[in-house]
């Protein structure tokens, strides 16, 4: 089923959860709604499911207006973050629930229900657990049973709310590969909510990045990772270094360092900007070299394999800024760098965005760029 949502707005008191969001979900794709806690992704999913109603805007399912139809009528399968398996029913009864709730005329016979449930349990590879109760299952098993239960009613679209959020790292990895394979077999249109960029990049056909109730960017994983549309997307999908400064003449000026010519049409002389560069896009040049480059001090140096990862402290006007670089070990050795050495960095690739003011939130590099996405420890935090 194709889904189109058109200028959806949702307000909780003074908090704007969704701010005129318009999106298209083509049939058969596995789409990730990615964003930090409170960005509105779960609210959007619940509005698509019919568990929540939007203040304004429309939801179209297969081109038909569905804003006023209830969750029962929408033919969606919903998988909850905490599974919501019925505790007093066996695994079998949980999966059979949707079939038993069908109107008498459409309800399959008992033997058909039994066959169908065992098919689904086979599909999630847990047929041997049919007579157990949910309390006797591990988190990963419960998640798969919840998925089987949602699939039992043959939904036109599958919606998953933080499907792997409450699982430990190893199980998450297994389950998301398994979900990807399942999707490739069933080709059912699916949308899943996640705050884990790695999960979104690895599993989804398409990623919708959200922030503050708005869509920041959408595209294939390759597109959003390689061509982020905003500093936020840069920051949210992987490690990034931010350089903030002003355009002077035709040069991108960070402090008294010239980062290169301004080739952005959005920026005029005098404008503030934020320039973004991934750690592996930085190059190191000698501190005493006359060629331009931002002067920094090596605060930490890790070597792994043929690469070195450096944490670099800004100097002078850039004091307090932390940069991260990933360079071939040979260039570290060529410069004889150690912790405490001074060096200059140059960006081999740089994306420049206009910035409102130099003290914008994102203008400061995170202290530990790797931990931008909340780790598994935070995974069970509830998404508003």
């Amino acid at each position: 089923m194709s889904i189109r949502i058109s200028s959806i707005h949702k307000q909780f008191g003074t908090f704007t959860a969704l701010d005129s969001v318009t999106l298209d979900f083509p049939r058969g794709e596995l789409v990730a709604l990615l964003g930090p806690s409170g960005c509105g992704k779960t609210t959007l999913l619940r509005i698509i499911a019919g568990l929540e109603t939007a203040d304004s805007g429309e939801v179209f399912l297969d081109g038909r207006e569905a804003s006023n139809s209830s969750v029962r009528e929408r033919q969606v399968g919903f998988v909850f973050q905490h599974y919501a398996l019925f505790r007093h029913m066996t695994v079998f009864e949980n999966v059979a629930f949707g079939l038993r709730m069908k109107p008498r005329a459409e309800r399959p016979s008992d033997s058909d229900i039994r066959r169908r449930v065992h098919e689904l349990l086979d599909l999630v590879q847990l047929d041997w657990l049919a007579e157990r109760y949910p309390a006797q299952l591990s988190g990963g098993q419960r998640q798969r049973i919840a998925l089987a239960r949602a699939l039992a009613v043959e939904p036109q679209v599958l919606l998953l709310d933080e499907p792997f959020g409450a699982l430990d790292a190893k199980v998450r990895k297994e389950l998301r590969r398994w979900l990807r394979r399942l999707h490739d077999d069933l080709h059912i249109s699916s949308i899943f909510v996640t705050h884990d960029q790695e999960e979104a990049l690895e599993v989804a056909d398409r990623i919708v990045v959200m922030n503050h109730g708005k869509v920041e960017q959408q595209g294939t994983p390759e597109e959003v990772y390689s061509h982020p549309a905003s500093p936020f997307v840069y920051h949210f999908l992987g490690s990034v270094n931010f350089f903030h400064g002003r355009v002077e003449g035709n040069a991108l000026q960070v402090g008294d360092t010239d980062l290169g010519p301004n080739d952005s049409e959005e920026l005029n002389a005098g404008d503030h900007f934020v320039a973004c560069s991934r750690p592996h896009e930085l190059e190191l040049v000698p501190a005493d070299s006359a060629s331009a480059g931002l002067l920094v001090k090596v605060s930490r140096l890790f070597r792994f394999g043929a690469l070195a990862r450096l944490e670099l402290d800004g100097q002078g006007e850039q004091a307090g800024q932390i940069y991260e670089a990933e360079v071939p070990l040979t260039s570290v050795d060529a410069l004889a760098l150690q912790e405490g050495s001074l060096v200059r960095i140059r960006a081999g690739a740089l994306r420049v965005f206009p910035a409102a003011a130099p003290d914008e939130v994102l203008a400061t590099n995170p202290v530990a760029p790797v931990s931008v996405a909340p780790g598994p420890g935070l995974a069970s935090a509830v998404n508003a």
């Binding site: 568990l51 969750v71 029962r72 505790r87 007093h88 949707g98």
Partner: protein
């Protein structure tokens, strides 16, 4: 003790177990065994005469029958009340919530006098019902009304916390699987509440069986019609027939114990289904 020593995470198993046994013996078992001791001073014929005369048998029927009916009615309406208090916000909710506990706090005699004043043929409600030929006061129906009154809080107070913890996710899951509101209530919500409902039922029933003060005013105490067993015990005591009174009490104790045991076993079975661990 010859049991193999195993380290327990929580300290204090032995002292708390000892104290539980001592306390139960002193507070519950000793007085109860006194009842049986006293009753055993009668020979079989005298015991049967005291405990199984037609008048006494009629009182058992009324006491246990009305208690079961009252507990059942309280179960149905207690669940509805708890649902309303947990799920909806309305002005005066706190006051309604406090009102539920009133039957706990009110001296039972006060409740009895108030109820008989209301339901007697010239009372507010009794006057309204009289033209339809419905008599409440001084009939078994009056006994039932009093027992419903005093048993009301039990089911509400046992179901309320369970319902508060019941995540709406389960209802949303049921709805997304195509279940209507009624089906959701029947197949998802009620089974989750069952253990608490059963506990509340048992407590309301136990309270109703033992109730005296609020019933005797409204019951009218007509022999074989609206006479409850506790009243018969008191009557015998007033006639200094201590052995006869304890004979009735002993029968009541045994029947109550058996009924509560059955309810508890049923409840344990229901509860086990929901939380079986590997």
């Amino acid at each position: 003790m010859s049991l193999p020593r195993s380290r327990r995470v929580l300290p204090g198993f032995t002292p708390t177990l000892l104290w539980t046994l001592i306390w139960l013996t002193a507070v519950v078992l000793l007085p109860l065994s006194a009842v049986f001791l006293k009753a055993s001073s009668l020979n079989a014929a005298a015991f049967a005469d005291a405990a199984f005369s037609p008048r006494v048998l009629a009182s058992y029927r009324l006491s246990f029958g009305a208690s079961l009916i009252a507990a059942s009615i309280n179960t149905v309406f207690g669940v509805i009340l708890a649902w309303n208090l947990v799920r909806y916000d309305f002005p005066g909710k706190r006051a309604v919530d406090a009102l539920v506990d009133l039957p706990f706090a009110l001296p039972t005699a006060v409740a009895g006098i108030a109820l008989s004043a209301l339901y007697s043929p010239n009372g507010w409600i009794g006057g309204l019902l009289a033209p339809f030929g419905i008599k409440v006061a001084f009939t078994p129906l009056g006994v039932l009304v009093a027992l419903i009154f005093i048993g009301l809080p039990f089911v509400v107070r046992t179901v309320q916390p369970i319902l508060e913890d019941f995540d709406t996710e389960y209802e949303e899951a049921a709805a997304s699987l195509g279940a209507g509101r009624l089906a959701t209530a029947r197949h998802v919500i009620l089974p989750a509440l069952m253990p608490a409902v059963a506990t509340g039922f048992a407590m309301a029933f136990a309270r109703a069986v033992g109730e005296y003060g609020s019933v005797i005013f409204i019951a009218g105490n007509i022999p074989k019609v609206s006479e409850i067993t506790p009243l018969l015990i008191i009557t015998k005591l007033e006639q200094y027939d201590y052995a006869g009174a304890t004979a009735i009490a002993a029968v009541m104790l045994v029947v109550s114990f058996i009924l509560l045991l059955i309810i508890n076993l049923l409840q344990a079975r229901v509860a086990a289904r929901g939380s079986r661990h590997a």
